[in-house]
């Protein structure tokens, strides 16, 4: 019992610190990738090739003046960034990031907790993140923030549906909601082979879910200054940032778990395989971001409801038919 408790606490600490570090260094990676794609060099001043840049940014944001607008709803204004960060970090609790290891004769699964409804847990928490954005946009009491919040709410609700439906195919094939079992089901063939359409839908819908370019209507800097976080400064702003980047890491981890075989892989240790796969999925997200321009708002809604949703439904039906045919 004591051993289990200690192991659990150590795992939580490692995952928590790792996620925060990853979120911080993702800002650097994002800037570097952007620079490479635009034939620039990116941050080069702080440390070797800008390696200390995230730390410098963090220190800077920490010491910035904390401005709360006079008219803002103070409680919600301060609560909103927290609501963004916590679900993003908590989602990682059910993601298995390595094969079970043996420590002192006990088997320790490398997963904080194996909930038997893991996928539902992820979906529930990731949709909680919307509240942070909407509340932040409303509580700032500024027109740009409000517009950004409303847009984000509409966008997230419409993209949540194809996101969920794209996973249904996986659940049908795996026959299980627990992520540990889904990973072990993929020991021979990754689910991306069975569900290529589902993978693409999930990739697109999760990009929209995370409010990233080309779907960053909520913070369209050309029109809305910075959207829902226009009025935020200092650490509250940093919280939004951490939440956003932690979401990228977590979403990549979800994609790896559901479609790319989780920690499964030959030769290398399983945790390393997991990290490599997550890194590549993150690169795909960055690649998408620095390739496409932002969609217009009606195009975004059209795309979500008229294209992604029918496609996701068709994907489920086709998957079902094929499964019935094969079983016969």
């Amino acid at each position: 019992m004591i051993f289990w408790l200690i192991a659990e606490v150590i795992k939580i600490l490692i995952v928590f610190a790792g996620l925060l570090m990853a979120a911080a260094y993702l800002t650097l990676l994002e800037r570097k990738v952007a620079a490479k794609i635009q034939n620039r060099m990116g941050p080069m001043e702080a440390g070797f090739h800008g390696l200390l840049q995230p730390i410098a940014d963090g220190i800077k944001l920490f010491f910035k003046e904390d401005i709360i607008p006079w008219d803002a709803d103070k409680f919600l204004f301060l609560l909103a960034p927290v609501i963004v960060v916590i679900p993003a970090l908590t989602t990682f609790a059910v993601i298995p990031f390595g094969a079970p290891i043996k420590v002192l004769g006990h088997t320790v699964p490398l997963q904080i907790t194996d909930v038997n409804i893991g996928i539902l847990f992820i979906l529930a928490l990731s949709s909680l993140g919307i509240y942070g954005v909407v509340l932040g946009g409303w509580a700032s009491n500024s027109k740009y923030s409000l517009l950004g919040g409303i847009r984000t709410a509409a966008q997230m609700i419409s993209y949540e549906i194809p996101l969920v439906l794209s996973i249904i195919g996986i659940i049908m094939i795996a026959g299980d909601l627990s992520l540990a079992n889904i990973v072990s089901e993929q020991s021979h063939v990754w689910f991306i082979v069975y569900q290529p359409i589902g993978f693409i839908i999930y990739l697109i819908a999760s990009t929209a879910e995370m409010n990233r370019v080309p779907f960053d209507l909520g913070e369209a800097e050309g029109e809305l200054v910075a959207g829902f976080h226009t009025e935020y400064s200092s650490m509250e702003f940093a919280f939004y940032f951490i939440g956003e980047y932690a979401q990228i890491v977590v979403n990549s981890a979800i994609i790896v778990t559901l479609f790319l075989g989780g920690w499964q892989g030959p030769f290398l240790p399983s945790v390393l395989w997991f990290l490599i796969k997550v890194f590549f999925v993150v690169l795909i997200y960055l690649w998408l971001r620095w390739t496409y321009p932002r969609l217009r708002y009606d195009e975004l809604m059209d795309f979500g409801w008229k294209f992604l949703l029918p496609l996701a439904l068709a994907n489920i039906i086709v998957t079902g038919f094929i499964m019935i045919l094969i079983n016969k």
Binding site: R40, M41, W287, Y292
Partner: protein, 171 residues
């Protein structure tokens, strides 16, 4: 969006999306075209010309003879010259023309001059200068020519007026 138009078909759109991804992945592996400016500097072309500079003889005396041609030709009126005699002492390197017309021999002994007029002050307002190179072209003594210092910055407008000292040294 009008989905009936041929360029809006799903196949065409997804093809174009992939073309976009291909373009960015290509530039991703290309070498950056920017450089770390204050530390690395761009290699300037041999015929690069920036602001004018004043040339001197080997003994350090000004080549300028205060003929006012550059001041006259300057389209933006950036050059202000005052003529006067500048004592450079007795020993000079004679220019080709001085050797030819023996102008120095006609001087009274002990004048302490090379027998030529010199500018007592020669100011170029770098804020007015348009780097057109007319002054270099018109100068009969090759006293003024275009340098290659493009990094000129100053805190006040007065600092932008470069005198003889700065025009000789700073390039």
């Amino acid at each position: 969006m009008d989905t009936k138009r041929p360029e809006n078909s799903i196949i065409e759109i997804s093809k174009n999306l992939l073309v976009g991804l291909k373009t960015t992945i290509k530039t991703f592996f290309r070498k950056p075209v920017t450089f770390q400016y204050p530390r690395e500097k761009i290699r300037i072309a041999e015929r690069f010309r920036a602001f004018p500079k004043l040339n001197v003889n080997n003994d350090g005396s000004l080549r300028c003879v205060a003929c006012f041609l550059c001041q006259t030709v300057c389209p933006s009126e950036a050059i202000k010259i005052k003529s006067g005699y500048v004592d450079y002492g007795d020993s000079h390197e004679l220019t080709e023309r001085q050797k030819h017309n023996h102008s120095i021999d006609k001087l009274k002994p002990g004048t302490g001059n090379d027998g030529r007029r010199h500018p007592s002050s020669f100011d170029i307002d770098l804020l007015r200068c348009i780097c057109c190179g007319y002054c270099e072209e018109i100068c009969p003594e090759e006293a003024i020519s275009m340098g290659n210092n493009y990094e000129v910055a100053f805190y006040t407008r007065d600092e932008g007026i470069y005198g003889i000292e700065k025009l000789i040294k700073s390039w």
